[in-house]
Symmetry: C2
Subunit: 721 residues, 2 copies
Amino acid sequence: MMSNTTTNSEAVTAGIQAILDPRSIAFIGASDDVVKWGGVLLHLLQKFKYEGAIYPINPKASSIQGLPAYRSVRDIGRPIDLAVITIGVDGVEQAMRECAACGVRAAMVVTSQFAEAGPEGAAKQQRVLEVARKAGIAMIGPNCMGVLNAHQNLALLNSTALLDSFTSIPTGRIGVVSQSGAVVGAMIARAGHVGAGFSSCVSLGNQADLEICDFFDYLVDDPKTGVICLYMESANSVDRLFSIAQRARRAGKPVLITKAGRTPQGARAVASHTASLAGTYETFAARCRAAGVLLQTDALQMLLTAQALLAFPLPPAQGVALFSGSGGAGALGSDALGDYGLVPAELGAGTRAALGEFFSESNLPLPYDMGAAVVGPGKGRADLLSASIEPIFADPAVGSCIYIMTPQSSMSDIARLFTELGRRHGKPAFVVNSASGITENMRLALIELGAPFFPSLHEAMLTVRDLLWLREAEQRSADAADAAPASQADLPAALHDFLRQQPAGMLSEDDAKKMLALAGLDVAAGVLAPDARSAVQLAQDMGYPVVLKIVADGVTHKSDMGGVALNLADADAVRAAFERIERAAAELPDARFLGCLVQPMIKGEVELMIGSVYDDAFGPFLMLGAGGTLVELLKDTQLLPAPASAADIERALRSLRCFPLLDGYRGRQPADIERLVAISQRVSELATALGPRLPELDINPLAISGNRAVVLDARARWIAD
Amino acid sequence: MMSNTTTNSEAVTAGIQAILDPRSIAFIGASDDVVKWGGVLLHLLQKFKYEGAIYPINPKASSIQGLPAYRSVRDIGRPIDLAVITIGVDGVEQAMRECAACGVRAAMVVTSQFAEAGPEGAAKQQRVLEVARKAGIAMIGPNCMGVLNAHQNLALLNSTALLDSFTSIPTGRIGVVSQSGAVVGAMIARAGHVGAGFSSCVSLGNQADLEICDFFDYLVDDPKTGVICLYMESANSVDRLFSIAQRARRAGKPVLITKAGRTPQGARAVASHTASLAGTYETFAARCRAAGVLLQTDALQMLLTAQALLAFPLPPAQGVALFSGSGGAGALGSDALGDYGLVPAELGAGTRAALGEFFSESNLPLPYDMGAAVVGPGKGRADLLSASIEPIFADPAVGSCIYIMTPQSSMSDIARLFTELGRRHGKPAFVVNSASGITENMRLALIELGAPFFPSLHEAMLTVRDLLWLREAEQRSADAADAAPASQADLPAALHDFLRQQPAGMLSEDDAKKMLALAGLDVAAGVLAPDARSAVQLAQDMGYPVVLKIVADGVTHKSDMGGVALNLADADAVRAAFERIERAAAELPDARFLGCLVQPMIKGEVELMIGSVYDDAFGPFLMLGAGGTLVELLKDTQLLPAPASAADIERALRSLRCFPLLDGYRGRQPADIERLVAISQRVSELATALGPRLPELDINPLAISGNRAVVLDARARWIAD
């Protein structure tokens, strides 16, 4: 019910508060058996010393886990903030009625076999929901694993780690909202191991009532939460999600999202798991990039990144300084940097001079090899280490530091020193466990310092990459504040008139080009020749060489069926090509041949693809890529939510792997980038203004020579009003 | 001294045996202080109950660590297999003389400050080596961290894990030889944690005498060794290395190599660390690929893969089946598969039917979600699990299985069942720790079963990818046994005659093409026009359109300086282009303009690059790639040691990302692959026969249209006899 409001209503906020910070809990289905849900959750509440009132409900017992039990919610006679429901599916509706009768404020329905189990369960879920709504009870679930509020000692979440291993709830400033209970469980177990901690964790279940955005919005205002992590399988109210993300950003709280369904296999698994559909992952990712939301592929990695964000500031520079106790590990680490898009820090001359005291000329200061730092004067080992490391931390080219801890003596001391230097110089300083199980003391030392402990180099490098991305996103957002907003100019009236006349379906090449010409683009228009003779006549008038392209109903991929002939140098060539194309069309049962377009042969120095796509879930997007068929094969494309700003478009163009070709590569004439940005913006405006009526548009190729940029071919799908 | 023999001499074998399996050890520099090398190694020998004789040598003490001490080796009076030397650098030569006088068979020199510390140390090292050689003492080191032979309780290796944590040496069938001591130390620590075990580990140090290949060769014949892992920073005797690798392969022992120096940064770090130079990483990698040697980028990952190889057979099929206790983890895992080049298993109809008992229609059987497998009849949970998992293991499309263990109950039991099913069905079954620190019992259960325990999904997926690669390499090697050997045909006499007349340096385009024509390739020969008038005349004779290309001494990258004009359609265009090229040449101070080649404009449907390169360390290589400048940018190339077999060349062609363009992509005419393979073989033969005299050759582009393939441009560097 809340999905269309931008921020939570007061009722929703109050409901979530009753769930995450209840003063009293009625436990419908409480049990002495800690293998059952009603047993384990009650046990956890007591184990972690929840301070509010707990009322176990169980008609068959007078006490449960040492607490006096009640036959029904009606028998409690005191105000109830939260009802936890763990009884069988068929009793839930009645239990909710009783809650309604007693003025319960919120309900957490753990019970499963609702909508996730099929249509019958969905009907049951709907009935429970109606009872709750009518009574103004905020509901989380059904089919949820529960919630946790570490700062209130509230562990209402079925977690093996909490149950069997931990003596306290991992407490900190990470807020988690998840569409999977097991993912939260894995994050809690990891948190305990690496010393990360939570404000609140929420397992959403079926989201019959309260949904991901409601909790997300709540955490933005929660003073205990500093970083927000979401695990998603589907996104319903995407615009709301990103507007909350914007609010979080303004509040200085980084937002991290792990979304399953990145690949066809994952999407199939998600569909099977949650029975919900979503937009494409690529368009969602483009929205995240534009919004400065850090998209992750692994929930455990997300936890480490969140922890790093709370432990250190963002890296003030790109360069990464690697440290290790051995040359071999440092060399392998250096090799790995590029795999993560990272660059090694180049130390300044002053730093190198300062380090000359500790390193012989044959040893580089980076990667720092403690074994090689032996030249210093007769200081103790710890002093030597500190004195030989600190100049590196102080160097402005160093943005972050990673220590690869292979087995060595004094690992805890090194880790402590390293972390403290990072704090002092305002730079992330990450310690990597390359010593496996023999680092227990070091792990405890890092936990004590509140610093992350990376299980391997892989995670540490991913985290540095992510922090650098966030830094860039922050700068981008600061730039954007100065820049003009993305233009949303109205389309020319003539274009509207033209489109009004188009029937739904694929536009012909000719019509697609007309649309683009009306939108202000330079177009290599062809002239339709119905037969070979008029094709030759047209070619002679234009001047050789020319191009022929098939015009036929029912043919969209012209080159696939042999419908394009390039570089025709004389009348004979034109005639032969026309006849060949006509024959090829005759072989296609669905094609109705209308003739060929004749146009002058134009060959750009470089060819780009510019297009747009409309995603029903996530809206319009601008797509940029290298042109031609080869690069389609190589997947060199960039996707941007439309409308896109000039700065974002230019950034995307520069991110293309083929960008050097536009930039004077090997003697080519540099392209007019400003002009390409303007053309892209025109396409972005078109996509924005036409929305779902223009599901796809492809300009391919746009032929570019210096400051000329001409549409040579285009295709578009149009959905009439 | 041993680097040029293919297999070890008897003396070397005996020397290594004295090091890895000594019956008696003299300890020169033995100490009571376990912070010193002479203390820690002696302590480890006794801690792990080495059974041979130990003779501590220390002139200042009568007993060391409870053992009677000797003033000198001369005082022992019994035969000594191995002398361990840990005294200061300036005493080592004298100590070696005493060893020589007493008939010591081998020496392990731990002492550092030898060649790695500069020229003075190198001279000291040389003197020690000469003493050892004269006396027939096999020497390991100096500057080495020691050796370990787990099956003989011999821990002569300074490892923090062995010293502080382990109560027994991790024992098994993995043999390690390493140019970094710290890397071995990290592998030992990891082995203890994941339950991997070693036959022998060797830290090589400076390799003054015994070097990597000597130990590698030894391990091939060592019955306790089943898999061999090498960590390398430089490779001296490469041909020997790969000939030993071939012997290992025939002996059924997989060879894994981690080589630092993959990137410029890593190479710089290696150079700083070991002061040795190496060939390029890419050519080394190509040799490894061809030899079926598994090249790794991380030594800890190498250990896990080695362990997996010993625990399970290679996957019998490509498909990967993912299992987890939760839908979310399974979906994220499915998403990750493609990142590692893995494909999800598609279960057969029979398997799906068998699983219908356990899964509702809305739940897919894969990724297996234990939470969804609830539909079964009233069996116990363990039976349900086993019955619902086994059909997946039995499916022939499933080659390997990965269980993502998020926190859940009965983790140890699940891991045990899963491992046993893998063993029963002859398929790798990997358990991944996604439950962090709460899996201690599971870890112990897996160690008991001798099964690997993956710290995260990342490592498990890398391992599956590697095992599949080894499987493919095995099949390839079986195919190769049937196929004809790579041809090494002699070059035609005319080609030799032609080359004899060439001076050293870059060949002109014309000469490079002549060389290729003489080698049997189809070449688009141009005719040299010294001035614009003759260029027009030649063009008219050939027929338009034509191409002009500069011919000038001192110009090699013709297009970079504007020296190429394509698609000239008439006399005016030819004249203008000639003059423009002549002007461009005049602006280059070092160029001497000789005219332009005129040749007919040929445009292939597809363009390839075929070339060769000679690496001084690793020999001749054939290089294949997409042609033109764009794909150079995109780095779509394959490298093969020359001579290369037809099968390997075809496999490399098919691995190019641009291969679909050769294969009828979007209506193109398919290329004649056999012809392209033959042309590549011609180039491979040329590179093999000419060796270092042809450091580089580039055919770019080779224009391909159906069964035509013409060299349009070529460059070559020639070193005269």
